[in-house]
Amino acid sequence: MSETRLMKGNEALAEAAIRAGCKGYFGYPITPQSEVVEYLAEEGRQRGMVVMQVESELAAINMVYGAAGAGARVMTSSSSPGISLMQEGLSYIACAELPCLIVNVNRGGPGLGTIQPSQGDYFQATKGGGHGDYHLIVLAPASVQEMADFVYDGFDIADKYRNPVMILADGALGQMMEKVVFKEYTPAEHIPPKPWATVGKPPTRERNIITSLFIQPEKMETINIGLQAKYQRVRENEIRYELVEADDAEVLLVAYGLSSRICKKVVELARQQGLPVGLLRPITLYPYPYEILQELSERISSVLVVEMNSGQMVEDVRLGINGKVPVGFYGRMGGVIPSAEEVLHKVIEMFDRVELKHVEEEYHA
């Protein structure tokens, strides 16, 4: 039965992990996501989970490797500096094709940075992060509800493709409290059999080997071709996004996660002033919704990308828009959250520019 509760994003995520049949959690405390391990240490253990606070994120991600390779549904969570430490393990996990869930509650950087919310890890999350040609599948929640929902989805997608899935949140989503409904979910109906797992070799089969080592370049290329074919399937089937008032929009905002919530408010404020503004909110950051951007570029006059970084996703938006209309960017960095008013100001500027362009066109005609 579904159940409604008031919770922090980090706690909702942890509760959902238990309900999703997560068998093991391995992690190292770091602000602003330590509530995940704290919640699981109590609730998770009581409900049969292996929950380990270990010596480093390096150890944590390699325990995830081992446990996922042994066929268990497992996860880890951290925040930016800890996720950097995990990049080695993530590359190995991606190559060995082990399903697991990684949560990054993004904080401001670079370096030790700040503990305030940020979207500065977009490149790291979506373009690989570690060495070699690989991708995580990246889900970007924008509410406490989605912090919970994307745990079930993340695990299911990870199992479906035998690929690590990352939930890319931020410090605000992790810390804020909202109403959350836990849906009905029966893990046994979702977790597929894992005949490839190393659980001990019965006489009836060959030994299972989990590895990312293929010393012959031709074999290594074959492995890469297989991975790329998988990513192609992911791109074909898993793209998710949300459109808000985009049908008649002249200026399209593009934002994900916390920024998208601010931009929803901007759309509302702009519409009150009679300005046709809409929002595209990518939910999957990899695979990225390029096609809808291409489609929208036929009927909008400009785009404003809003991020809590120096401009990372804007590069993907430019790829999708492909030069059809101007793409502007507004960002705050280092843990600062932009206000709806400052974004609105930027939007109004864009309308002024568009109007000026219309006037110029009429003049030349």
Partner: protein, 267 residues
């Protein structure tokens, strides 16, 4: 010479356990890895635990251990074998889990994972091959290289002032309460091989009884890296390695042996 060899009339004095695959070892002539692999797999066979054993291979010369050991295996990132083994063991607590690691893997890049796995008392067996050199990458210094030892990165010999001391990590681990059985063995003579096999059997028994962390260091040779013939390498090992890394039990059934206290301050 008859076409078929009259096997019926011969006594079998050597047999490859069927827990080893048919793949030929890639190891150099005289290298200890092959013997350790065989004894480890012999133990798995004798205990009848092939179907319940999961091995973790390292990075180093034995990176391809899973080509030879016919059990389910995972290949770990360099130094992370103890963490990978922990992950496996924690979700499959009734299975036998071992890692197989060299000196660079266990005592340099993976020091943190090694020590914390031991300190948690993980119910795993760690086989630690110490040949005091990085064989696979071409003979560079290891944390366990002895003083004065010439390697490709210590061409004048390892000196304390700049490279520090040989890392006696096995003594360090023996001190930890999570470690149940810690021993140092070798495989260069028939007697040594027999002793090593007993150690492996003892460690698997301890794991069955959930006693805690077991570490078997094997002081081994590297004829290629040391640039010696196999026979000379074993001689060099006895004369130079054994004084620094003396063979014997350091900790049995959770109790430190006397040897531990006499050796820990030496060298």
């Amino acid at each position: 010479m008859p076409e078929t060899f009259p096997l019926d009339h011969l006594e079998c004095v050597w047999e490859k356990p069927d827990t080893l695959t048919e793949t030929r070892f890639h190891y150099c002539p005289g290298c200890g890895h092959g013997v350790v692999h065989k004894i480890l797999m012999e133990a798995v066979k004798e205990l009848g635990i092939q179907g319940d054993t999961i091995g973790v291979a390292p990075v180093g010369c034995s990176v391809f251990a899973y080509h030879y050991m016919d059990v389910d295996m995972q290949e770990a990132a360099h130094g992370r074998a103890a963490a990978v083994a922990t992950g496996i063991k924690r979700v499959l607590p009734e299975k036998y889990v071992y890692s197989y690691q060299g000196d660079g893997d266990l005592a340099a890049i993976g020091t943190a994972e090694t020590i914390h796995a031991a300190n948690r008392g993980e119910n795993i067996l760690v086989i630690f091959i110490n040949n005091a050199i990085y064989g696979m990458t071409g003979g560079q210094m290891a944390p366990t290289s002895i003083i004065g030892m010439k390697t490709s990165t210590t061409p004048e010999g390892r000196e304390i002032a700049t490279q520090g001391f040989p890392f006696k990590i096995t003594e360090l681990i023996a001190m930890l309460p999570g470690a149940y059985y810690v021993t140092r063995q070798s495989v260069h003579t028939p007697n040594a091989v027999r002793s090593f096999k007993k150690a492996v059997l003892k460690a698997f028994q301890a794991q069955k009884e959930k006693r805690g962390y077991c570490l078997i260091e094997v002081v081994s040779n590297c004829p290629s890296g040391w640039k010696l013939t196999p026979v000379d390498a074993n001689k060099w090992m006895e004369e130079n390695m054994f004084p620094v890394y003396p063979i014997g039990d350091l900790k049995v059934e959770g109790k430190l042996g006397e040897r531990m206290f006499t050796q820990v301050t030496k060298n």
